[in-house]
C-alpha cells in the first residue's frame, strides 16, 4: 500500500503487532485473583472477631496457617515445575479457612501439618486448583481431627480483649446441655469453639459480602441452613430437654462458616443452581443427623466432604435442558 504520500500524518496500525485469537475479543474483567481476594475480604470480619475473643493466639494460628499454606504450595510448584500460583490467592484462602477451623491454642506444628494436608493431600495431588474433588480445608480438618482428637476438640474459653495470656478451656455449646448457652453470646461470639465458629454476626457479614458480589450461589447456604433449622427444629419440639433450639444450632459450631465459606467453594460444589440446592440440602441433612444422633458434637465438615464426593453425580443429574430441546420420546434424536 503506497498511500502515505498524500496523508503522511495518519498513523496506521502495525499489522505485525496485531494479536489474533478466537472470539470474543473483550472480557468482563473478572479473574481468579479478584474473586479470591474478595473472599479474603469477606473473611476479615470473622478474623477480627476471632482476634477480639481469643487474643494474639488467634493471630498466631491464622498467620501460621496462611503462611504455611502459601509456602507449601510454592514449594510444591517448584518441585513439580509449575509456575508460581500464590498470586491467585487460593492458598491464602485455604490458609485462613484452615486457621478458622482450628482453635486458638493449637500448637504450631499442628497448624503446619494442617497446611500440608490441605495443600498437598487436599489439592495438589489432584492436580491443583480446580481439580480437587474435596474441600482442601476440610480434608485437613478431618485429617487432624482423626489424628489428634484431643487437640482438635479442646477449645479455649473466649474472653474479650486482645491481651489474653492464660488460656482456659471451654466446651463447644453444642456439647453442653440445652439451656446453658445464651443466645446473645452466640450471636456476638462469646462462646467456645474454633476461631471461625465464634461470632455469628461476623460470619453473616462475610456471607452477605459474598452474596452481594455474587461469588457464591445463594442456594447453598439457604438450603444448608434451612434444612438444619427445620430438622433440629422438629427434634427440639419433640424433645426440648435433649436438643438445643434450632437457633442455637444455626448460630453455633461451624455451621455458618461451613454454609457460607466452605460448602460454597466453587471447585467442590455443583455448577448448576438446581445442583446447588440439592447440595445444600444434603449438607444440612447430614449435619443434622450427625449432630442429633452421631457421636461427634459437630458434623458440618463430614457433611460437606460427603456432599463434595457426590458433586459430580449431582452435576450430571442436574444438566440443564438445552435451549429448544425436545424429549426423545417425540421421536427426535437429541
Amino acid at each position: 500500500m503506497s498511500d502515505t504520500e498524500n496523508t503522511p500524518t495518519i498513523q496506521m496500525p502495525d499489522p505485525a503487532k496485531l494479536i489474533v485469537s478466537n472470539s470474543p475479543h473483550i472480557h468482563s474483567g473478572q479473574n481468579i485473583p479478584k474473586i479470591m481476594f474478595t473472599v479474603v475480604a469477606a473473611l476479615m470480619p470473622a478474623c477480627i472477631a476471632a482476634v477480639l475473643f481469643f487474643g494474639l493466639a488467634a493471630i498466631e494460628v491464622l498467620l501460621l496457617c496462611t503462611v504455611s499454606c502459601v509456602v507449601i504450595e510454592e514449594g510444591w510448584n517448584k518441585l513439580v515445575k509449575r509456575h508460581p500460583t500464590w498470586k491467585d490467592g487460593s492458598a491464602i484462602i485455604t490458609g485462613i479457612l484452615l486457621g478458622m477451623n482450628l482453635n486458638a491454642g493449637t500448637p504450631w506444628w499442628v497448624c503446619i501439618l494442617g497446611g500440608f494436608l490441605a495443600i498437598i493431600l487436599g489439592k495438589q495431588l489432584y492436580g491443583g486448583l480446580g481439580y480437587n474433588p474435596f474441600n482442601p480445608v476440610l480434608v485437613a480438618r478431618v485429617g487432624l481431627l482423626i489424628g489428634f482428637p484431643e487437640i482438635m476438640t479442646t477449645w479455649d474459653k473466649p474472653e474479650l480483649g486482645l491481651m489474653k495470656i492464660d488460656a482456659m478451656t471451654a466446651a463447644t455449646p453444642l456439647g453442653l446441655a440445652p439451656g446453658e448457652t445464651f443466645f446473645s453470646d452466640v450471636l456476638l461470639g462469646n462462646i467456645g469453639g474454633c476461631l471461625g465458629e465464634t461470632s455469628a454476626i461476623a460470619l453473616l457479614i462475610g456471607g452477605v459480602i459474598l452474596l452481594a458480589f455474587k461469588l457464591i450461589k445463594w442456594e447453598v447456604p439457604l438450603a444448608f441452613l434451612g434444612s438444619v433449622f427445620v430438622i433440629t427444629g422438629i427434634a427440639h419440639v419433640v424433645s426440648p430437654e435433649t436438643v438445643h433450639s434450632p437457633f442455637i444450632h444455626i448460630f453455633t459450631g461451624g455451621l455458618l462458616l461451613g454454609a457460607f465459606f466452605m460448602a460454597t467453594d466453587m471447585v467442590t460444589s455443583p455448577m448448576t443452581r438446581k445442583g446447588a440446592l440439592i447440595f445444600g440440602l444434603g449438607c444440612g441433612v447430614i449435619t443434622s443427623v450427625i449432630r442429633l444422633w452421631g457421636s461427634y458434637p459437630e458434623g458440618v465438615s463430614f457433611a460437606i466432604l460427603f456432599m463434595n464426593a457426590l458433586t459430580p453425580l449431582i452435576d450430571r443429574a442436574t444438566i440443564k435442558k438445552p435451549f429448544g430441546y425436545i424429549a426423545p420420546a417425540k421421536g427426535e434424536a437429541a
Partner: protein, 273 residues
C-alpha cells in the same frame, strides 16, 4: 481364634474349588497361536495396522483376515519371524517413515501474535494458525502428541521427525490440519521441506526456507528424474530416489532440500540465507 482360622481356611478352600471347577467347565477355547503371534508383535498398541491394538491384530493374523506385514512397526525380520511361526509366506515390505514437509521454524518465518489454545487443530481455526504461510507447520505439536513413539520433536515451533525413531504407524498423518505429513520410504533421505504451491516470490516474503522452484536440484540430478517439478514446488521422486549427495551438489539456495537425518539432528538451523 482357632475357630476363626479354621472357618476362614475352609471358606477359602471351598471358594478355590468352586473357582477351579467353573474355570474348567466354562473355559473358552483360545487358539494358542494368537498369544504366540502377540508375543512376536511389538506390543505398542499404536493402531497403525487399523486394528484395536496388537492383540486384536494377532487374532486377525491368525484368522487370516490380515497379513503380518500390515503391522507398520514390525521390521522385516519380525514379520518373517511371525510368518515362520505361522508357517505362511511373508511378503517383502518396505519400511516407511513420516516426513513433515515444512522447514519454516519460528526463526525463518513470518508469524503473527496468536493467543489461544496451544493445539494445531484448534489454532488453525484462528486466522489459519496465524502463520504467514498458509501451508506451513503451525508447531503446536498435535502430531507429536499423537505419536506413541516420541519420534516427533517440536523445535523452534516446527515439527521434526526423527527417522530412526519413527516406526511408520501413520498416527500423525491424519491429525495435521495442514496435511503436511506424508509417509516415505525410510531408505530415502533427501526430501523437499516445503509444501506451499504459491509462487516463489510470495513464499519468500513469508518464509526464508521455502522451495522457490529454482530447479537447481533438478539440474543437479542431470538426466535422472530424481526430482519432480509440480507447479511452483519441487518434490522428491520416491520411485527413483536421489542419492544423498544431491543436496550437496544442488546447493539449494533456501535449504528447503534437506537430508532427513541432518534435519533431525539440527544441521540446518541458522544456515538459511
Amino acid at each position: 481364634m482357632i475357630a476363626a482360622i479354621v472357618s476362614v481356611g475352609v471358606l477359602g478352600a471351598l471358594l478355590g474349588v468352586i473357582i477351579g471347577v467353573v474355570a474348567k467347565a466354562f473355559a473358552v477355547e483360545v487358539d494358542e497361536r494368537i498369544e504366540g503371534v502377540g508375543d512376536l508383535l511389538p506390543g505398542a498398541n499404536c493402531g497403525g495396522c487399523g486394528y484395536a491394538g496388537c492383540a486384536d491384530f494377532a487374532k486377525a493374523v491368525v484368522g487370516e483376515t490380515a497379513t503380518p506385514d500390515q503391522c507398520p512397526v514390525c521390521s522385516a525380520e519380525d514379520i518373517s519371524n511371525i510368518a515362520g511361526y505361522l508357517g505362511i509366506v511373508a511378503e517383502e515390505k518396505e519400511k516407511m517413515v513420516a516426513v513433515v514437509r515444512c522447514s519454516g521454524n519460528a526463526s525463518n518465518t513470518v508469524r503473527s501474535l496468536y493467543n489461544g489454545v496451544r493445539d494445531c487443530r484448534s489454532a488453525v481455526l484462528v486466522a489459519g494458525g496465524a502463520k504467514g504461510c498458509d501451508y506451513g507447520c503451525l508447531g503446536f505439536g498435535s502430531c507429536a502428541d499423537a505419536c506413541p513413539f516420541g519420534a516427533i520433536e517440536i523445535r523452534d515451533a516446527l515439527a521434526i521427525v526423527h527417522p530412526e525413531l519413527c516406526v511408520g504407524c501413520e498416527n500423525c498423518v491424519a491429525v495435521c490440519p495442514k496435511n503436511l505429513i506424508v509417509m516415505v520410504p525410510a531408505s530415502v533421505d533427501v526430501h523437499v521441506y516445503c509444501n506451499s504451491p504459491e509462487k516463489g516470490a510470495a513464499k519468500r516474503k513469508v518464509c526464508k526456507t521455502a522451495c522457490i522452484a529454482c530447479r537447481k536440484c533438478v539440474k543437479a540430478s542431470g538426466e535422472e528424474d530424481h526430482m519432480l517439478v509440480d507447479g511452483f514446488l519441487v518434490k522428491t521422486n520416491y520411485d527413483n530416489p536421489p542419492p544423498t549427495d544431491l543436496v550437496e551438489a544442488s546447493a539449494c539456495p533456501t535449504t528447503a532440500l534437506r537430508l532427513a537425518s541432518k534435519h533431525a539432528a539440527g544441521g540446518y538451523e541458522g544456515v538459511s540465507k
